[in-house]
Subunit: 689 residues, 2 copies
């Protein structure tokens, strides 16, 4: 009788990844792990981490690196060290926006103070101005055009309406529809605009969504979303991150003659809706298409003008350090095999959600795992803790580390677990490489949730499907290098709620402790989830990848790109589809029998190495034509950071390069056949026992 | 060879309804008809009709009846006469709304003046107050609760939230989601509320939609939507329309002891968003569910309170006359067969769109048809022109006329063509009994459109489907009695655009002539369409009903009600579906051969009578359990005026009366079999030739 079934008959469940024999000890360790991360512990970390603003390169962020390092040491982590790399930073020094026509009016460019909240006084320091990192410095006097969300479709619409953007200042919303802010500015720049403004419309994150700070979680009228606008897709993953700056023999840095093309050439500034409405309410020209209308109390118009604005930005570029803090729990049996977990530390302001909740959760998790080791529960594989730097600026810390360790990670990287914040609310959201979706769901059954028996229950209650929906790993966060460049399996965790203060000074301790997660129940629970996930992943006997699910996801993606092509041309990716189906069949056969009998330690190691290799088989070395850093065949973010699947074919469709598709399809067939033959080898390992 | 095909080979098309031989003369007449209705003629009618407000029962509306009668006579219509019936009207005499807490503030309850627009001074007469017709008079002082669109789902949500409405004033939006205003007030009343307010949110018809009056077509901050709130579904079609008022032998009317249950028992008032925001912005309690948020610049809250309001309404009930104006163009060959066309005359205010554009179009059409008759083109069947009264109050004029002539119409009523306004913009919208969908599309190919070669092209460009989408005949307008009680085939025409001034004083000549239809191009074109449609319908050799399309529509409706039932119980309407399919097959067979050979005059008359009978077969005499006036088996409006299909089964599902469904299905089977055997008889007519 199948051991797992026997175990179930006894009224217990066997966690995915274990034979019944190993499950008991695992669950004992996990019970211990669940008892350690606490709301008090989390809150103490959060309070310290959010005491002051701490952008990358700031003195405070270096102090916080010391704090993280000291905690890692205190909790018993091994090989604790800094990983330092130079990078170009850009800081806002001066900014002003004055309306010159049809009225004279200087905009505030400040977030309001709330006497109850000591962290809302940031702008009392007159040196603090809102800014878009890497925006060009300059002064522009021009009429304004409203361009909705600044997405490619929005700019296309403006062209269709005959609106000439040359020399204009383009005013855009942050989130309608979602598009990376840097890509908005890029589109404005390449349309000939002289400057950009991006504001937070109350329809997207303000009063139209619900109660606003300090009564509720949404953004108050003066809140401003800071952010980087680096044109990263033009040179993604370029190492070093110092761009056109060169180091002198004496160690000093000087700016090279030509500004790197990843850096905007026009000024840009973020803005509150309180300020933006002074401009927007005075625009004339045609009324906007209906979906461009936001929640400000007037009909929006496209312009240009009659509003004329003088916008002045002075950003200062300088080279600084990116300081990752690294620590490990060495594995007992396969120390060379790594489970990496990371969250960034740098924040635009106080960053209670983004990212300090993640750092605090990481520390609570480290505390739990360190304690477990002391009590004799050392995991089989090594867990590497990483506290990244400069995520906000350019995903710099994680990328530089991953690229530096590329060969090691391709050989031994089992899994990268990412956080980019822990909990801003009670709605758990888990994303994973498709092969790990079932595993992530399974882990979620073992962790209690504050508002449902388990994370699984809470998660399922938020999705219309009968099973919790596992998200896709595509976006702009620290997992990018791990999936896209290394080809590692990835899991990403977060717990979400209404969150309208993103990248503003109101994302702070007051907001988190009074509004979003009073008592830190959600964040403490997420720390527990993370502890169990890491320990279990470092301990599984056979890796829990189910590649049949990956193949099925790919079959759906093949449909997607065929549909994407359809308006222009009918394409039929039949041979890729057939290859994916053959791979799926092999995976299903393997998954049906891999738990039948326990393997020897050597057999399991060989089996696991083959499963790891399958994800690597879904990469190829050349990388995307437009972005060689992106070597994954199945997923990539678009420059807007929207999802892109089967990116080579996707981009060929966009470029109308129909003749390339056949070659890309062959590349997929080869990859799926490689993946299938790796599973054949794994099956052979089972047979030899 | 099929005559029609021969005709096509000659490069001409044969209008649906004619043999090639008859087509030529028809098209000659239609060319003449197309040349007559003019923008100037339309504009002159509209100017006169909109000179003053003219609600039903007002002196001005009686003067307009004279105007219509005189034009009918002038244009050569026959048997021109008034059709008078007494009805209960209710007029607003006094109204005030004062906020008592947390501030003291008296609301304006007036629409703003615009010096450019002489028709915007209505409220300069202090006797004019906005009102909901038939609302109870009374004074209420209570806290306010916001109930979104006041739909059944919204009240259910409030119950779920634990909000007690007893004694409260319920503030509701007009259009989110759409629900008949009278049903909103009814739900408030039956929830124990003491009064109702319904306001126009700018998200629905104001600045969030686009430019507002006087710059554009949407509603300005002070605009108020007047309207009737009669609980008509509680006694639909009750004749007389005097409710509990009784006539003395001397002819005077007195109110009976008990207020009719179709009349609300609580006060209610319509309101601008300018006024409503004074209340809404001060409500506390939980923030609203996201879809309840409108476009006013603050987070909406449910209440109750702390806003306390004193609302005072004094409406005066009195019996007045409903005066329909009727005129005819007598048919040359089948004078007993009637094509009826109607549009109402009464307006809440000046009513440029609703309804005067329709009356003006009807007059231009009458002028064209009268002129055609004088030039020798008298149609085969009789065209009856009707200018209804009291549509706004209780669909009174059309209903009383139809019910009075019920036997005549059931025997001889070929088609009812409805207008409820002509054009508020360029987007043509045609609705029809499913059997007439193809016919309506076909007619639209023959009429030029101002912004596309033909109405067909303009219509198709606005629908995602490859063919223009023909709407369903369900709603609250003058066609109700004709379809629901008589069982006549119906066509409804309108041409639409952004229209945010519905039922306000701004629906006036200024708005129409400057903003919505400058030059009256759209309205003149619609008059031409109507002229062609009426003449052709009165002249077709074989009636153009295609019952195969009706059967297919019913098959889709069977799916709909099965799906509606599904959450509670699985039902399978297999025998109804089979019967509908058999009917469809018979219809398809008939439609394939009916144009093969011309019929004798007598044969055609017999054939046509049978086709007319099919629509009648889709009614039964008992009527709906809840509303016996509704005798149609396929369509009915819900009390909210949303669509209801297969209404007997629909309402049994709602009531959980599962045991009734089998009987209703048998009733459908019988009807479809009757419909099929009528087609058999029609086929036999073809065979005897």
């Amino acid at each position: 009788m199948h051991g797992a079934i026997l175990y179930l008959l006894l009224g217990q469940s066997v966690p995915l990844g274990f034979f019944p024999g190993g499950a008991e000890k695992e669950l004992e360790a996990e019970r211990l792990l669940l008892s350690i991360p606490s709301a008090e512990g989390f809150g103490a970390h959060l309070l310290y981490l959010t005491e002051e603003p701490h952008p990358a390169g700031s003195k405070r962020n270096m102090e916080l690196a010391d704090y993280v390092r000291e905690r890692f040491l205190e909790y018993g982590l091994e090989d604790v060290h800094f990983h330092d790399t130079p990078a170009l930073y850009s800081y806002g020094r001066e900014a002003s926006v004055d309306i010159l026509e049809p009225v004279e009016l200087s905009l505030k460019l400040k977030e309001d103070r709330n006497p109850e909240d000591k962290d809302s006084y940031r702008y009392s320091n007159s040196g603090v101005v809102p800014y878009h990192e890497y925006a060009a410095s300059g002064e522009v006097e021009a009429q304004v055009v409203y361009a909705n969300g600044g997405s490619p479709e929005d700019f296309a619409k403006l062209r269709e309406m005959g609106v000439d953007l040359r020399g204009k200042i383009v005013l855009m919303r942050y989130s309608n529809p979602y598009s990376y802010r840097g890509y908005k500015v890029h589109l404005a720049e390449t349309s000939g605009a002289s400057a950009a403004i991006i504001y937070s419309d109350p329809a997207d994150d303000g009063y139209a969504r619900g109660e606003t700070y300090p009564q509720g979680p949404w953004g108050p009228p003066s809140h401003i979303q800071w952010g980087s606008i680096v044109y990263d897709w033009l040179g993604y993953g370029t190492i070093p991150f110092t761009f056109h700056w060169k180091q002198n023999p004496d160690g000093s840095w000087v700016e090279g003659p030509e500004r790197d093309r990843q850096l905007p050439r026009i000024p840009s500034i973020p803005m509150s809706h309180e300020d933006a409405s002074e401009i927007l309410s005075r625009l004339a020209g045609p009324a906007v298409p209906r979906e461009w209308q936001g929640a400000l109390p007037f009909t929006y118009h496209v312009g240009p003008g009659p509003v004329t604005v003088r916008l002045r930005v002075k950003n200062e570029d300088q080279i600084g350090l990116m300081r990752n803090v690294i620590g490990k729990i060495e594995g007992s049996e396969e120390p060379e095999k790594w489970i990496v977990v990371g969250n960034h530390r740098d924040a635009w302001s106080h960053g209670a959600v983004d990212p300090s909740s993640g750092t605090a959760a990481l520390l609570e998790t480290a505390r739990a795992l360190g304690a477990a080791v002391k009590q004799g529960f050392r995991p089989r594989r090594t867990i590497v803790f990483a506290n990244w730097d400069a995520e906000e600026d350019l995903l710099g810390g994680s990328t530089s580390w991953a690229v530096e360790l590329r060969e090691k990670l391709r050989r031994d990287g089992v899994l990268y677990v990412n956080l980019d914040s822990a909990a801003s609310g009670p709605n758990f959201s888990g994303s994973a490489t498709p092969a790990l979706a079932d595993y992530l769901r399974d882990v979620s059954r073992y962790v209690p949730h504050p508002s449902a028996p388990t994370f699984y229950d809470a998660w399922r209650s938020k999705t219309p499907a009968s099973e919790p929906e596992v998200g896709t790993i595509v976006g702009a966060t620290d997992y990018t290098a791990f999936q896209e460049n290394i080809g590692m399996s990835v899991i990403d965790l977060s717990s979400n709620g209404p969150y309208g203060v993103y990248h503003s000074q109101y994302d702070n301790y007051f907001w988190m402790s009074r509004i979003a997660d009073p008592g830190f129940l959600q964040n403490a629970a997420l720390s527990r989830f993370l502890a169990v996930l890491l320990y279990r992943s470092a301990n599984v006997e056979l890796l829990p990848m189910r590649y049949s699910a990956y193949a099925r996801a790919i079959l759906a993606h093949l449909d997607e790109v065929e549909k994407k092509a359809a308006p222009a041309r009918e394409i039929h990716l039949t041979s890729a589809r057939d290859a994916a189906r053959r791979w799926e069949q092999k995976a299903l056969a393997l998954e049906a029998r891999m738990w039948e009998r326990e393997l020897s330690r050597e057999g399991a190691a060989r089996f696991n190495a083959l499963l790891m290799e399958v994800e690597r088989a879904l990469t190829e070395d050349r990388g995307l034509k437009s972005r060689p850093f992106f070597k994954h065949l199945i997923y990539a973010p678009q420059p807007t950071y929207r999802d892109e699947v089967l990116p080579r074919i996707w981009e060929a469709i966009d470029a109308g390069a129909w003749e390339e598709i056949e070659g890309y399809e062959r590349e997929l067939v080869t990859a799926f056949e490689k993946a299938g033959s790796l599973l054949d080898e794994a099956a052979a390992v089972l047979d030899t026992l």
